[in-house]
Symmetry: C2
Subunit: 346 residues, 2 copies
């Protein structure tokens, strides 16, 4: 870590909730993790930031700096036109601070496509990496797992699957369990050799070649995802993004359903009260909020994306993740490993 060691820039204007929500998340992070959260640069409209900042007496102001940006990027904006027309947007300014070494990491809840584009353009991918990938931790009772890619690159090439396997494995050790050599699976629709798409078949062949460098367990199907079979699940960004959003939607739906049914009559309400701990456990163990932050792996710099629809809690945890990733500094290990696997499959 050079100049910006330990400082994180936050794109305050990104996401559906805008500045009030993101700043609420920052305040919550400082409250929950006072030791882990370091110095912050809030990037966005300075008047709006100042207006919201007055509500947060508990945010130690001395650790906050404001960087003005006159524009913001909509969730529906296209990356190429935004790169041209929104040079003074909060997102691009934040990524620019990282590119200039003024900060060590960036957090944004904004438009994914624009974040991938600006990250790739301003920071460049690490040597040996073709494309960045978004990785997300999916909570599961038996074992949390990493899903990669969840949307940076809709049509992932076979070589990118290989590079994502290496990045995903390293991320698993950072975010989930540093003591395990994570089992990697390639998601497809039939685990017999030769099924799935041409890309999947090619990626499968390459992944078998680099076994040893990673712990490759072969092809897996959807029904194996929550069964403690693998720790890193590889898929293209199209499948991954749909899967991530569907998993979150379904988990939320079931939670609400059970809650509503529990309130149907007095007996059930009493039962729910007594059994309440089980639901609190579920809230703690399975809520997406704690795993809302997804790092954009493979760039020269730490960039974390949080959902556009993030809650205050989700922003807080994503900010914690950003500081943790900034502190890890495993770029050398990654770059060595990527160099080896690239030569093994080429």
């Amino acid at each position: 870590m050079s100049l910006g060691g330990g400082v994180v820039a936050i794109d305050v204007m990104g996401g559906d909730g805008g500045a009030p929500l993101v700043m609420g998340g920052v305040a919550r992070a400082v409250e929950l993790f006072p030791r882990e959260i370091g110095r912050l640069v809030l990037v966005g409209d300075k008047n709006e930031i100042a207006r919201h900042l007055v509500h947060y007496a508990r945010v130690a102001r001395e650790r906050i700096e404001i960087c003005h940006a006159s524009q913001s990027i909509d969730m529906g904006e296209k990356p190429m036109s935004a790169l041209r027309g929104k040079k003074d947007s909060s997102m691009f300014r934040a990524v620019g601070l990282l590119a200039d070494g003024k900060v060590a990491g960036v957090l944004s809840c904004g438009n994914t496509g624009c974040l991938v584009a600006s990250g790739t353009f301003k920071l460049r991918t690490m040597a040996g990496i073709d494309r960045p990938a978004l990785a997300s931790v999916i909570p599961s009772p038996d074992n949390h797992f990493v899903l990669i890619d969840v949307g940076a690159n809709p049509s992932t090439s076979p070589l990118s699957f290989v590079q994502n396997a290496v990045m995903g494995s390293l991320y698993y050790k950072t975010a989930v369990n540093k003591n395990r050599n994570p089992r990697v699976g390639l998601l497809t629709i039939g685990t017999e050799e030769g099924k799935g798409s041409e890309t999947i078949r090619e990626a499968h062949g390459m992944l078998k070649k680099i076994n040893g460098e990673i712990n490759y367990c072969g092809l897996i199907e959807g029904f194996q995802l929550f069964k403690d079979g693998v720790d890193v699940v590889l898929c293209d960004g199209f499948v991954g993004n749909i899967l991530l959003k569907t998993i979150e939607a379904l988990a939320g739906t079931i939670k609400n359903y059970v809650k509503a049914r529990m309130k149907k009559n007095l007996l059930r309400m009493l039962g729910a009260f007594l059994a309440g701990g089980a639901f609190r456990d579920m809230g703690k163990d399975l809520t997406a909020d704690r795993y809302g932050g997804a790092p954009l792996l493979g760039l020269n710099g730490t960039v974390v994306k949080s959902h556009g629809s993030s809650s205050v809690e989700a922003v807080a945890y994503a900010l914690l993740l950003t500081f943790r990733l900034v502190g890890v500094g495993n770029e050398h290990a990654l770059s060595d490993s990527i160099g080896r696997v690239n030569s093994m499959v080429s």
Copy 2:
């Protein structure tokens, strides 16, 4: 319905559980739905069928006929080699009975690829339909929806998306709610125009053109799936198959998790007992067993696929579905509508 009116052939040897499980499912279906289940042809090894049949005194034997087949198809077998080498398999014999008009429908828990291949080869697709598609009803508290394609055709073409929209809408009316003009959504990773893949963009353009013929609501994302926004969800067979299996795995995982947590201490156990009705509701409303059967739409004949890992209950409900579909006979309505949409987008 011609010669085989109301008779359904069952591929007894297909699926992970083999003949004992499938025949258990048949017996359960007769027990649960005595009026809906009609005459049956059990296709498979005649000795094995006879051996299991003695356990099912409650299955009215007079409605059962046995059709001997000396071979069976493994779950891992490749369609093309099976088509050549397994002509006397239970699956192909069952589909052959349908092609010859000896039965009106087929149910199989066997290898999906082989079922799609033999269905396409022996029955041919209906006039105007390029490829068959598997449709599955996904249970949801707010509104059950149809997911199509769940695995017949991994890389669906834009024109097939259009045809699947028509077939999925008609199937929704048959299987979920006949009084609703189902809202159709195209699943992608960003609902702004121009996002997603080239195929999705092209399919979206075509679907807008046929609006009126179907009730097209546009692009949707994964998080909208359980929110009562659409009734028919279009995706390619690769995405659909992964999604279907992931949804079932997650729903099962959460159910088991809550159950286990409920048993953690006495207070919770008492609570769970009192609130038990809520879980029974969940079991009834959300279990995949009741929606395990997926018709292979677009063929000249009713073919229903049930999971390879189907339970006895799931086979029973899939058999009920097969009889219902056989009884509907909406081929003319479908073929007229397909003719219209094909000319609208060509």
